[in-house]
Symmetry: C2
Subunit: 235 residues, 2 copies
DNA sequence: CCTACCGATCGGTAGG
DNA sequence: CCTACCGATCGGTAGG
């Protein structure tokens, strides 16, 4: 079953389905199938999914190659080593996480609600925390978002040097939480020491990767509500 | 360096240090070195440490054998397979976690503090939660407690059948939290829905395995205080 | 619990 | 990006 599916997939990827080709009459190289950067990115996407599902060590480079219709040696045309693929997956994950986070905080900035006079000024950090949490859940649990979970759970497989590369990105990501948590601590919404609170909160969110099932149970909005209710005091 | 250290260790484990033997005049087989159950348990302890440090897939059965001074095939005299070792590590971890948890809750039960009239009756679940959290940190972060962290982070390497075996133990462990959280929810100390609160709280604690460093930073008591302050409302 | 060994798999490479 | 291949390592076993 697997062997047959793979060979069909491989042939399709290499030659294209002849019937479809003739029907559409498209030349072989104009589609993004043959685009170099695109093939590389297909490898990364497949690697992220497999690393997440089976773990880095349990995933062979042959698995990854087969998932995109390549032969066993071909991934090494795009990546120097298996380690380099892992690092690339994690870097892409962190870049998208940071981007999503910045977008979420930017949307929260305009003080239109406060200007309407409905809520106290101190509530703005509350809104910001909600956006941070919601964006984090999106990054971890959103459809096809395998990159950051790989980073969280395959950290051990990195070399010392690779860890340093990622440390800066992780530092940037976590730095965004600190001023929000400090404001909430000052206003009494948050009681625990800010540094430990950040570690515990991120842990609570990160662990959701282990138990969240999109098909049943809570939505990401419900998760966000629960986290806010759990972490924040009322005044 | 490793090769030399290993060969010395192996010889010592197999024959005993001759000088020491003569000095103490003890016969070779009376010490627990030759006890069958003890050798098995030494393997388990070494496996737990290595699985935690390097991961299950990255640890070879040869690594484990060498760590206790055995040769490559010998672990299979004690365990049917590498998988069986992993399951045994996890089962031992869960048994000790459940035992420590029960002890902690038992110590909290006598109502002597409430009987002294100093605190409201509703505070007893607060004490129980503190004991649950503190016991959990002990289980995860206490010296030599590698068994449960392995369970948390190598769950993926288990077969379906092995997961079922562990599911009962995990269920027992988590069940102890529910009545405590329900009482806290009823008294207003906990705002989030109990089921999600339990998942988020356990996640926050479990994640500490990733960042806690016993040599620097907070103590387990400080961690417990921070968690209590983070999760609980004041009334 | 050791000795000696096997089949399978893996990351990676040369050469095209 | 494929073909053909290599050295290394691994889990596990037979036979003592």
């Amino acid at each position: 079953m697997t062997a047959h599916a793979l060979s069909v997939q491989r042939l399709t990827a290499r030659l294209g389905d002849p019937a479809l080709k003739r029907a559409r009459g498209r030349p072989r190289k104009t589609e993004d199938e043959r685009d170099d950067g695109n093939r590389r990115h297909q490898l990364l996407t497949a690697a992220a999914r497999l690393f997440r599902e089976k773990g880095f060590d349990a995933t062979s480079t042959r698995d990854i190659a087969a998932a995109v219709g390549m032969h066993s040696g071909s991934p090494f045309y795009h990546f120097k080593s298996k380690d380099a693929m892992l690092l690339a997956v994690m870097e892409e994950g962190m870049r998208s996480a940071i981007s999503r986070q910045a977008q979420a905080l930017q949307d929260a900035e305009p003080g239109s609600i406060a200007a309407a006079g409905a809520a106290p000024a101190a509530s703005e950090p509350v809104v910001q925390l909600r956006r941070l949490i919601r964006a984090h859940f999106d990054t971890l649990l959103g459809p096809g978002n395998d990159f950051v979970p790989v980073m969280l759970y395959e950290h051990r497989s990195l070399s010392e040097h690779q860890r340093l590369v990622l440390a800066k990105l992780q530092g940037d990501y976590e730095a965004a939480w600190t001023p929000v948590l400090e404001a909430l601590h000052a206003s009494g919404h948050l009681q625990a020491p800010v540094k430990l609170a950040r570690l515990l909160i991120l842990g609570a969110l990160n662990w959701s990767v282990q138990w969240f099932d999109e098909t049943k149970g809570a939505s990401l909005d419900e998760l966000t509500d629960a986290a806010m209710a759990l972490f924040l005091k009322e005044s």
